[in-house]
């Protein structure tokens, strides 16, 4: 396996490179810059699954994983009393007390940055590691689907890349890899009595009626009976058996939460996000390599703090229970959980009209939580300045985070993406092009 260039990048060199810019790199030659370092040991790949908790719209780093109580009310609003965690020296937002008690299981990145303040391009960058261009790249889930899915021995009862519950659209899908690697978005709501997974469970259609109309269909299959030897129809039957396996078989049981103890369901939180976390655990348990939970509603330009009082307790309960449950079942060792949005939010509260206490988009500095699958718990990577407005230490770029996730999965970030178009492109941009990087998160990756 080729060692990625970026793994040999030291912080000093990143700074040098950043200062020298593209011209400096050209002067040194693409390889000259990294050639001197002896390559450090590659972290051992131990992850087989990923749960991506996507705070869709961008959650505020100050109110979640990077509190700044000393910055004053213009920055903290009413949320000025962060809580201590079970790891010395780590405090997080006051509305996340349950997560605070799990801090030994995760690390926080407080220096994520990309500088983009537009939803689509930022979401694309954070999930692909690439800036928007003519070519639409696959999101991490589609990459994992292509490299750990059906083409590589995956035989699970549900597709290898699941989105709970709504997809984000073009910029977080399969890109040029094609529809085969698109996520299976469940639709429905796992917090309803019946989780109406798209294609699996029809809302308003009882099992009895489902069976009855299938019998009717069989009775009316006149052409199929007349052309019993038709090879196309033999293929049709095979497809239908596979579809039925999804509709009636193991897949349906995975999505059926009624077999879970009520007490555990309560712990996750009786809301859509909490029950999505529970479904994600069940999917990972069943061998699914990539699950994305899209948690909408974080784009809080107005009434920000009201929204936080509603959303953060749900996030706290669901995510904390997920981490604890995965750990209890021995799944956390092989399951990466990462949680962030496309950007943070403006640290300074916009009290003025028309926002009246909102926060805007903020790509210069934001936070992420990573846990499991070889990510150490109880650490903080990087730091923001006193008001959370700039990265103060150890910038982490989206590609660094994604590259670390791929590496822990045993996927070389410079591996060429399989595609039918004959494109010769690596999963993440090589250090010579694309957005800049700060190096893999070696400080929190188990050797």
């Amino acid at each position: 396996m080729q060692t990625p260039h970026e793994q040999r990048l030291t912080r000093r060199e990143v700074l040098q490179r950043g200062l020298a810019g593209a011209a400096g790199v050209a002067l040194l030659g693409p390889r000259g810059l990294w050639a001197q370092d002896a390559p450090p040991a590659t972290p051992t790949p131990r992850a087989t699954a990923v749960i991506q908790v996507w705070l869709w719209g961008g959650a505020c780093h100050l109110d979640t994983f990077d509190p700044k109580p000393d910055a004053g009310a213009d920055y903290c609003g009413p949320l000025a009393s962060p809580v201590a965690s079970n790891v010395d020296g780590i405090r997080i937002g006051e509305l996340l007390p349950q997560l605070a008690r799990q801090a030994d299981k995760y690390s926080l990145i407080r220096s994520l940055t990309h500088g983009i303040n537009a939803h689509e391009t930022a979401a694309y960058l954070v999930q692909t590691g690439r800036q928007t261009d003519r070519l639409v790249f696959p999101s991490a889930g589609a990459v994992v689907s292509a490299l750990r899915g059906y083409d590589h021995g995956y035989r699970g009862p549900v597709p290898p890349y699941i989105v709970l519950t709504q997809p984000q659209g073009r910029f977080s899908e399969a890109g040029f890899l094609g529809p085969r690697y698109k996520p299976f978005a469940t639709g429905g709501d796992p917090n309803q009595a019946r989780f109406a997974v798209e294609g699996l469970v029809q809302p308003g259609l009882t099992d009895e009626r489902q069976q009855r109309r299938r019998a009717l269909l069989r009775a009316l299959d006149t052409l199929g009976a007349a052309l019993a030897d038709e090879p196309q129809f033999e293929h049709f039957a095979a497809c239908e058996r596979q579809a039925d396996e999804l509709i009636y078989g193991a897949a349906r049981r995975i999505f059926d939460l009624s077999s879970e103890p009520a007490e555990l369901r309560d712990r996750y939180g009786r809301n859509t996000f909490g029950q999505c976390c529970l479904v994600a655990r069940r999917l990972v348990e069943a061998g699914v390599p990539y699950v994305t939970i899209n948690s909408p509603g974080w784009d809080t330009h107005k009434q920000h703090f009201q929204a936080m009082r509603r959303k953060l307790p749900e996030l706290d309960q669901g995510l904390a229970t997920l981490l604890a449950d995965l750990a209890d079942r021995g799944l956390l060792e092989r399951t990466i959980v990462w949680c962030c949005g496309e950007f943070g939010r403006t640290p300074r509260v916009q009290w003025e009209p028309p926002w009246n206490g909102g926060r805007g988009h903020f790509g210069a500095c934001f936070s992420a939580l990573v846990a499991g699958g070889g990510f150490k718990g109880g650490h903080v990577v990087g730091a923001s300045d006193a008001r959370g407005e700039r990265v103060a230490q150890r910038p982490v770029y989206p590609r660094d985070l994604l590259g670390s996730i791929y590496t822990l999965l045993g996927i070389d970030p410079q591996q060429r993406l399989p595609n039918a178009r004959g494109l010769d492109v690596p999963i993440l941009p090589s250090p010579e092009d694309g957005p800049k990087g700060g190096g893999l998160l070696r400080e929190i990756m188990d050797a």
Partner: protein
Amino acid sequence: METMNRVAGRITAYAVLTALGAAAAARAQPVLPFEQADWTSPPNAIDEAVLSRLRAEQLEPARPCSDAVFIRRVYLDVLGTLPTAAEVEAFLGDAAPDKRAALVDAVLARPEYADYAALRWCDILRVKAEFPINLWPNAVQAYHRWVRDAFARNMPYDQFARALLTSSGSNFRVPPVNFYRAIQGREPAARAAAVALTFLGARIETWPTERRAGLEALLSRVAYKTTAEWKEEIVFLDPAPAGPLEAVLPDGSTVCVPPDTDPRRVLADWLIRPDNPWFARAAVNRVWAWLLGRGIVHEPDDFRPDNPASNPELLTVLEREFVATGYDLRQLHRLILNSRTYQQSAHPARPAARVAELFAHYPVRRLDAEVLIDALCQVFGGGESYTSPIPEPFTIIPEGQRTITLADGSITSPFLELFGRPPRDTGLMSERNNQLTAAQRMHLLNSSHVQKRIEGSARLRDLLARHRADRAGLVRALYLTLLSRPPTSAELAAATAYLAGRGAPSRADVNDLAWALVNTKEFLYRH
């Protein structure tokens, strides 16, 4: 020896056919409602070529398809559109002995003929706005309109090819110049590959080097320049002084193009000469493949010496007819559609290894993605929503506009993606994937997309209102609408039993019946 056999085959074809017909009649009865006992039209030149080959292989042709199968088949194959219940009833009730030929004429005169031909040709010509072709929306619309118009006016195919090959001007104002823009590259090799594939049905990489180089040389003086108008581009003959250009033509002969002559014209003149067999063969083979499921040379766009035609005589018949009629595409369709070969049942007389490649039955194929969604919209009402990766005004499709009329391969929907609509990246006919998948099956059986279409259907509501007291009438109307035929007595019994109960049938039961018919193989496949 081979020639003698072929001549003998021609002379006796009709006798053979009659003999085979008699043999078939001696076997079991025709399978109802898909077959009928007797042919109503004489065999034509196509049938002679097909039957002599079948006889040589000791194969039998299939029986004639029924009238109901025929109207559905012709509509789907030529118009990409389902016949309405009224159209079906009118055709089935028509007692004229030549009604199939009359239907063929009527169908070829409909605007959907041009829509569907344009869809198929725009696949081949790679008409899309975005990566990797990058025509951009306005040029896509202009180009598609020009292509569609060519089929609507029945522009002779040689003129169609000439216009695409030799035009110069603005991508917005001279639409056929987009031929040289709708390729993945701006170098002569990319243009040569596109010309070979489009007009000779050949993959240039299978050619000898000197012929490849010759075609590249003839296309080497195409140049592009932008204008002050956004995304406008001029395709023109590079005026840079050039010496006489010597090049090898694809047939191996050498030409010398004087400096003041556009080498593209020399190429076009060679291409459309009536004695150039490759040009007409490639075209008729495509049309044949569209109508009969596979090329006589197969893949239909992979002509090369080591990929022979399964029936060379048949290819020659079609080529000669096509040239003799002045490259008349409608006439070519008419010839094929009126043949017994096309009107065979989907049921092979006897299963055998080569029945498919020798055209001993009509091949069963899943409907195209666009045709399937149009069929669902037609049957149940309602439209479909589309997106494009680039912001463009043409994604707002009025309800009622057919998907087969979409100009732009970049405008898409989850349904089209799921059902294998071609990406229009390469122009290869194999880009269109009509092989059913488990995900497609699940979508049809159980998706909310299909279910909501049925539950929300105003057409179903109206049908139910019209037939409240008449279950058999309701079932018959559903069958005519969805499967283009009346139900058999067994089907009628099963369906009315499902709708049983006191009073009028419930909407939920009617929805189930519609759902069941949509999910039959008969609805989903050309047959």
